[in-house]
């Protein structure tokens, strides 16, 4: 949010438990850092760096050790400091490390409980929620599925999922454009998915930013509808490259829209030769059995 993605401090990320209706704010502004000397500090973004007081020691040529304290405003005072010279500090710090660490913890949590976590990504309006509700209804006698629902605003999608009888929490990212690993951590702590089950994470509709953020999921599943244009995979290659699976939805509309199916499949394979593709219609049910078989097989292979 304020630190890791593109939104303002007022992003107001909230988590809503759809069973209890309780809505809580996800506090992101306090965090912990380890300094190079091993000191661990926890601070908020309101920390006034300008008021930073600094105490340090210098060893003079004759061996005398001088320790003194000053604030940043006295740093350039010639009376105190005879010489200022530049020093280069090597950092090699990965910018998404904080997110990646939490994602790794999430992955361990899922693995330990045999939970198959899938991160559903697409542009808005591709049919993610419709596919999800249909999948839950069709599989609920055989498989346990729970859902973390991500949207900027409203609990509308979570409400639709809730109506299927499935456990769901809604995460509203405010002005944020994607889900992050820390939000998923809060989500499953609230949801408590049962062992040997599937956790569907419906990401914010956006084909760009979610590609960068590992949530700790087993796979990203990219959803693309035939009303969007066959060149989406090469227009947004990062997302399709990151995904293990692509689901082409709304295939019942193929006779009515100018969509070159073969070219789309070719583009997807060009970006990601290993991507597994399912062609489905959530409306008529066509092709869904292949997707369901993949879910069952993957849950079995991954967890037993």
């Amino acid at each position: 949010m304020c630190v890791t993605c593109g939104c303002s401090d007022e992003a107001n990320v909230t988590l809503t438990n759809m069973e209890t209706g309780v809505k809580t704010a996800i506090e992101e502004h306090h965090h912990t850092h380890t300094l190079p000397d091993g000191t661990v500090i926890t601070h908020s973004h309101h920390h006034q760096e300008k008021e930073h007081h600094q105490t340090h020691s210098h060893t003079l040529t004759e061996g005398t050790v001088v320790t003194h304290t000053h604030t940043s405003s006295t740093i350039n005072s010639p009376q105190i400091h005879a010489q200022i010279h530049a020093k280069t500090i090597s950092l090699e710090e990965k910018l998404l490390q904080k997110n990646d660490l939490i994602a790794a913890q999430n992955r361990g949590w899922f693995k330990g409980r045999n939970v198959l976590a899938l991160n559903l990504v697409s542009s808005p309006g591709s049919g993610k929620t419709t596919l999800l509700t249909r999948t839950i209804k069709d599989l609920k006698d055989n498989l346990s599925i729970s859902v973390i629902e991500g949207d900027q605003e409203t609990a509308n999608d979570a409400q639709k999922i809730r109506e299927t009888g499935c456990k769901v929490v809604q995460i509203n990212t405010g002005t944020g454009c994607h889900l992050e690993a820390s939000m998923i951590e809060r989500g499953y702590q609230e949801l408590k998915p049962e062992p040997n089950s599937i956790l569907m994470i419906e990401n914010v509709g956006n084909l760009v930013c979610p590609a960068l953020f590992d949530l700790g999921e087993y796979a990203k599943v990219a959803i693309l509808s035939v009303t969007e244009g066959e060149d989406k995979p090469i227009k947004y290659p990062h997302m399709f490259r990151e995904s293990k699976v692509m689901i082409l939805t709304k295939i019942d509309l193929l006779p009515y829209v100018p969509f070159d199916l073969n070219l789309c499949l070719e583009y997807a394979k060009q970006v990601n030769p290993k991507i597994e593709i399912f062609q489905v219609s959530s409306l008529t049910g066509e092709g869904l059995s292949n997707w369901y078989n993949w879910l069952k097989q993957t849950l079995k292979v991954e967890t037993f």
């Binding site: 993605c5 910018l95 060009q270």
Partner: protein, 114 residues
């Protein structure tokens, strides 16, 4: 627009490591296949630095070109997007070996001595 947040992250990490010293220059490595726009980072940097010890700090961005390696014949292929085709054997199975970097490489601070 994840670049604004990433720039916030750069500023926060540098401030922590500077421990109050004046920072003259920050060098960031961004791979050309990383889905991060250097221009957007530059645009955000000055704004993110305002009111911090990084006010006036120079941002240096090293852009690292994309490079793939063919999984079939081992040929190295320059890439401007995260996919492509081997010009030697025609395979599209390329492993990206360079161009996805996103890190703060180093920072230059003013060291004060008595």
């Amino acid at each position: 627009m994840h670049e604004l947040g990433i720039t916030h992250n750069i500023v926060a990490i540098v401030i922590e490591n500077a421990q109050g010293l004046t920072v003259k220059r920050v060098t960031v490595e961004i791979g050309q296949l990383s889905a991060i726009m250097p221009d957007a980072i530059r645009f955000c940097f000055d704004i993110c630095c305002q009111g911090t010890i990084l006010d006036g700090t120079t941002l240096e961005i090293i852009e690292i070109p994309g490079l793939g390696k063919c999984r079939h014949c081992g040929t190295r292929i320059p890439l401007s997007q995260p996919f492509g085709q081997c010009y030697n054997c025609g395979s599209i199975e390329l492993e990206i070996i360079q161009g996805q970097e996103l890190k703060i490489k180093e920072m230059e601070v003013e060291e004060i001595c008595v």
